[in-house]
Amino acid sequence: MQIKKDEVVWLLLFIAPAIILFFLFFIIPILFLFVTSFTNWDGISAEFVGLENYTKLFNKKSFVRAITNNLYWCLTAALITVPLALIIALLLAHRSRGWKVFRTVLFIPQVVSSAAIAMLWAAMFNAEYGLVNFLLDYIGFSDYKNHNWLGNIRTANAALIGFSLCYVGYFMVIMLAKTAGISEDYYDAANIDGASQFQKDLHITAPLIKSTFFLCIILAVIFNLRQFEYVYLMTAGGPANKTQVLVVYIWNELSVQRLGRGNAAGVIMIAIGAILLLSLRKLLKSETYN
């Protein structure tokens, strides 16, 4: 609708709150992050130090470790969680009996807070009373009795990343919804040709939800780049910084008042996010049109 002259004030009033909030909590923080990353700001005073924060960060083993761990999380999600979600979505796509119940149940971890999930899985991995060790012992792996999964330098990362598979339901729901839009005609035609269920899934459903599959990979990468609670509450980045991730690293810099350094880490994190997003888009776009 074309706006009338006397309604311009109303229009401005309506968009003002959103714009103010957006500036206050998106634009200004990002600019502020960038500017202070070149200073030694400690909350009281700030001096320009050039690229010192960045060079110091990249010379720190624990920071490089945090970056590789974040990439590790992203890669697990993109190569394991999302493809598994695709398989489950294909299996439920036929709307066989009870599919709604499975959808609801698989989605539940997504609506529970990360803090509660982190505490739950820390308990699952507990050396004394955790269910994981008990089940392993039960099926014959008695070496793992009293094994401290999250405290052991060799198993901490694997345990953290293994539990993250419980988020498969979120991506499954997105892809499952996309299958609802596929016309029955395709399947009818395939039935006439005598295609099996597996062939139909592979040659009809999967190609048609390809773009949604790629979208899920992009979402998975964003979520895993900014994740904080699991590592912070389950291992606090330990043992010996083995499980460190970027946001926990920034948090630790904040708690020792090295705010400029922490913000430099923030800039690097946003840059990594942007690079990942742009290259994924490029990669997946060319893939979609081929």
């Binding site: 074309q2 959103a18 609506v111 509660a116 597996f198 946001v247």
Partner: protein, 278 residues
Amino acid sequence: MQRDLSSNFYFIFKWVIIISFVFYAVFPFLWLVLASLKTNAELLDDPFKLPAVFQFQNYSNAIREAGLGKLIINSLVISTSATFLNILFSSMCAFAIARHTFWGKNVLFLMITAGILVPLNALIIPYFAIINFLNLYDTRFGLILVYCAVGLPVSTFILTEFFKSIPKEIEEASFLDGCNFAARYFRIMLPLALPGLATAGTFQFILCWNEFIYAMLLTSSTDIRTIQFGISYFTNQFFSDYVGMFAAVVISILPSITVFVLFQERVINGLTAGSVKG
């Protein structure tokens, strides 16, 4: 004959996968609930054995000793206020964008929705500084403001798409009847947009209720602490009272599961409406 074999195999494969993931998603929760009803000594026993007596006092202990009631009230007040403000502001903005043409409209929409892709946790230090600058550190309003802003891109996106789907004729008729801008929004569009508001609101509420890092960053006193930040203290507070911690975790996850089960079609529709276009 061969086809029968392969379709049987497919059938078995399908159910093994689905059931093992349901197991993976749900079993930990069932174990948690069962463990929360045991004594600390029974916990170290066989995890599948039912407790001799169901220890419901674990729950009353957790509520009393840890002040869970207060934490829940704080979370409810903060989450509902932030949801209300978020939905009000984003629906006003979405109404302006979806139903009118004005200079810079597309840029505004693109800019706000691009916020979805910003890894916001990179900004914890600037958020800390801004909230301190506004003198809102350790206040409920500070958290409400941050939650309201953090959810703005998603809500604005969902609501703009929803407003666009409402037929133009209804609004045009009221325009000719002399309704002004605000009346068109409050009297005509808002009632029509109720399903969209419910979808965006459910999302926003779950986001606020589950939020952890900003609650830890921006509050310090126990008086205004939220439940998610509150339960993280349990590991220190109870020391070896694991069952008390489990009871507290169960209490903390009940509200969001309830909201989800009640509004699940909304959540799932919103998720797919918002992301399929994305």
